[in-house]
């Protein structure tokens, strides 16, 4: 089973799932085998296609195994983005800061810090 971070929430995919096009938001993609978590990737965003033949294609702009992240850097990044959001003046800056908060927030909850 694979759990995808879709924009509508965490989505579990088992063999025989209905064919779906799912838009992904930044989050953790985890592959479960036999009830155990096998691998986890942090996905920046992208798409997942679930085909009728039980094949799922995940296309992400960036996908990194979770153990490559440094928790301290992630915490610092979240603090930076929160600060930038408070200091944002234009819509563009606000949007950029919000995206940063979303990504870092997902990372912190994934890493458990």
């Amino acid at each position: 089973m694979v759990i995808l971070p879709a924009t509508t929430g965490q989505m579990g995919v088992l063999p025989g799932h209905v064919p779906t096009i799912a838009e992904l938001k930044p989050g953790v993609l985890s592959v479960h085998e036999g009830g155990q978590v096998k691998t986890q990737y942090f996905v920046s965003s992208g798409f997942a296609f679930i085909h009728a033949n039980s094949v799922t294609d995940v296309i992400a702009i960036e996908a990194v195994p979770l153990d490559k992240f440094d928790p301290e850097e992630v915490k610092k990044g979240l603090a930076d983005c929160t600060q930038k959001l408070n200091a944002a003046t234009t819509d563009l800056e606000r949007a950029q800061a919000q995206i940063g908060i979303e990504v870092h927030g997902a990372l912190t909850s994934a890493l458990g810090v």
Partner: protein, 334 residues
């Protein structure tokens, strides 16, 4: 002595030779008289009998051919090392667009009003025929796609295609992008270019024309078709797009919004892959072009060296004969 002073004066020796010596000398050329044609011996080295001006010319030519040989050899090595760097990146990037084909299928025959042809070419030259091939196919595609009440345009990536297409199709060029390889090729760069295109240009179908890298000696001109979101919806509703309709859409509220993101993402992935494949083809083509150039230079150098040596030896022989016959004449008169 006599020949020495004539040499210093730079006089043509053919006049000195014409007397008693000409009959004794076995000329290599079949010229009727030593100064009959200006091309003289085998058409290469100047008039028969003249010594120094032509040998200097040949020596200069040999020097320049040798340096060309060295330069092209170095260029081949540089291209080989660059190729090694890009090939692995390219092979990995092929997985980016394959899921889109699995989902949407490949529809090169789709009929559309506004067609754009995106030609991917190189910025630098000396890479064989890949740029002219790309332009040739792009022109053919444009012709195929044009017709009454159809709008066709070019989007050009790379200096070389721009130079060729500006000459005769200047009015059809919508956008030009150059210097894509200055900083390395990345997905970010491809998506930025897609942003610009989608902002400026309203298209139904984009046909991306590039050289796919098959092996170091084989490059396949390839066309990838990308449909705009509206065209996607239209084709899927008319049932031609396989079963796109069978897919549930999780994401935004409107299916069209998701399809727009999908189409732009597909465009960026395809463009990223096209840039990489073209870069590989460029390095491979440059390798073979420089290789054949080095081989030609070596051949030319060999031929020049042979004829230079031949002329040098002929000159020395002539001088010797002069001296000897001069001495013999002196002795005979005594």
């Amino acid at each position: 002595m006599a020949s020495g002073s004539a040499r210093k004066a730079g006089m043509r020796l053919s006049s000195l030779l014409s007397g008693s010596l000409a009959s004794g000398i076995k000329s290599q050329t079949a010229a009727a008289s030593p100064w009959s044609s200006s091309t003289g011996a085998a058409g290469e080295l100047g008039p028969f009998g003249s010594r120094f001006a032509s040998s200097q010319a040949v020596r200069n030519r040999m020097k320049s051919v040798k340096s060309i040989q060295k330069i092209t050899k170095a260029m081949k090595m540089v291209a080989a090392s660059k190729l090694r760097g890009v090939v692995s990146k390219t092979e990995k990037s092929r997985g980016l667009w394959q899921p889109f084909i699995a989902l949407l299928g490949d529809h090169p025959g789709v009929d559309a009003k506004k067609v754009s042809i995106l030609t991917v070419s190189t910025d630098r030259g000396l890479c064989g025929g890949i740029n002219s091939t790309a332009v040739k196919y792009s022109k053919a595609l444009l012709k195929l796609s044009s017709g009454p009440d159809k709008e066709v345009s070019y989007i050009i990536v790379g200096d070389k295609a721009r130079a060729i297409l500006q000459r005769d199709s200047k009015q059809s060029i919508a956008l030009t992008v150059t210097e894509t390889q200055k900083i390395s090729i990345s997905f970010t760069q491809a998506s930025m270019i897609v942003d610009e295109i989608v902002k400026d240009l309203d298209f139904d179908v984009v046909r991306v024309m590039y050289n796919k890298f098959n092996s170091v000696v084989q490059f396949l001109p390839t066309v990838t078709t990308i449909l705009s979101p509206e065209t996607l919806i239209r084709e899927s509703e008319s049932g031609k797009l396989g079963d796109l309709d069978a897919y549930e859409v999780e994401g935004a509220e409107m299916k069209s919004e998701v399809l727009q993101n999908l189409s732009e993402f597909q465009f960026a992935s395809v463009l990223y892959n096209a840039f990489l494949e073209n870069a590989c083809s460029e390095q491979g083509a440059r390798m073979s072009a420089m290789d054949s150039s080095t081989r030609n230079a070596t051949e030319m150098l060999d031929k020049l060296t042979l004829s230079y040596n031949r002329s040098r030896q002929a000159t020395i022989t002539t001088e010797l004969i002069e001296i000897i016959s001069g001495a013999a004449a002196l002795e005979a008169s005594n």
